[in-house]
Symmetry: C2
Subunit: 265 residues, 2 copies
Amino acid sequence: MAMKNIRLLGPKEIRALIRKGKWDKPTAGLAMGYAQANLVILPQKYAFDFLLFCQRNPKPCPLLEVLEPGKFKTKFLSSDADIRTDIPRYHIYRKGRLQSTVKEIRGIWKPDLVTFLLGCSFSFEEAMLRSKIPVRHIEENRNVPMFITNIPCKSAGVFHGPMVVTMRPMPPEKVARAVQITSRYASVHGAPIHIGDPAAIGVKNLRKPEFGDPVTIKKREIPVFWACGVTPQAVVMEAKPDLCITHAPGHMFVSDLLNEELAIL
Amino acid sequence: MAMKNIRLLGPKEIRALIRKGKWDKPTAGLAMGYAQANLVILPQKYAFDFLLFCQRNPKPCPLLEVLEPGKFKTKFLSSDADIRTDIPRYHIYRKGRLQSTVKEIRGIWKPDLVTFLLGCSFSFEEAMLRSKIPVRHIEENRNVPMFITNIPCKSAGVFHGPMVVTMRPMPPEKVARAVQITSRYASVHGAPIHIGDPAAIGVKNLRKPEFGDPVTIKKREIPVFWACGVTPQAVVMEAKPDLCITHAPGHMFVSDLLNEELAIL
């Protein structure tokens, strides 16, 4: 199958290519309309604390599906996915340090591993674009700018740390609509956590994001901040668990769930 | 303090009375405007499975706060509550059987106990009344009628069972508004799970609820069904844990959080 056609494929076909090792690149723009998910896999001894951390911090950590210890087949996000093979690239961390990047994890799978799949802002960006709300980093073909704030997450067991946010600048007259639209997607970060004044949340320089790329902020535009899925990853790394497996940035799990199925209203 | 004034008290004052053993009756109608919560306390070995059950079944099991093992002070729902003393009456179950009803649980508290506080439909009923949507069981001064459906909850570890629902009848022209209003309260059961045709969800006779009381259904009225907080209790009892402590029905935890603070829109 010609790779140039990948944008026309549905999620099941994309996961089949990934499983066969035929697609190991980022998943942005694939299976448009379908939700993509962040992956965090932890040993069972950390699982209650991490589940509790997500329950306490639903905006940065919107859980889409959690599997029981040892399980690697999803039920809710897809009925035919294997979490060990169906993600283009995995990062393997030991004691909080990146050890390797791999294309499948069957070889290191263990019966005490617990899989967490978390919502991703791709879902609400699609809805913003449909409503003619600018998404600057998409216009400029960059990574979304991300900032570490002074807003503490609610800690849970060994997991604690500041909230990381994404920033999307927009003209003032678009802000209310952006709030309405993203409020519908509570399971993919939901409404903004902050609008305007970056200094109030500890963001010193909008031109210097801690992760991702800077984007153009036009005259009169307001910076709008959403909780970011990098938060749980940063919090997990800080806790230095023996083992943690995540997706490589941008190389997400492509689910069979439509973004519209995630919308709450 | 004269008990006749209890309806004028705020949540902190009500909890203080409860703590001193001076109020051991149901909490319906107290601290109007403030969220009340269902209580489930389980030994740590069941905690991950139950937290996962709630994550998978947010409509019947809307988590408001979960405490770490051994903790008995809330942080989110109140900054000064003690879960061992601040509920009017507790039910103590061993192996799924009710063993005793008590007014405080300090004597049996153990460091491995995990506390779950779940949203309660009192919150959205207040919003319905404000919008002139009839709440029949309140009008008729009865318990809400509850039915066991044929809708299976998503199981998690040892926890599984059917969804229990509440039913509120209303004229057809009120149904859309009732959906809108309760959708705002996702953390207290949220939107209805079913509208009309009781047989489709396995409810045979609206006059014979499995729990609570029957209510009048007027000509032309549509039965509207919401997921019910009795679901997690039924599921826990079915799993027959060594120990489980809950609130006695209607004797809820009165929180410092306004219902409006729980609304998502």
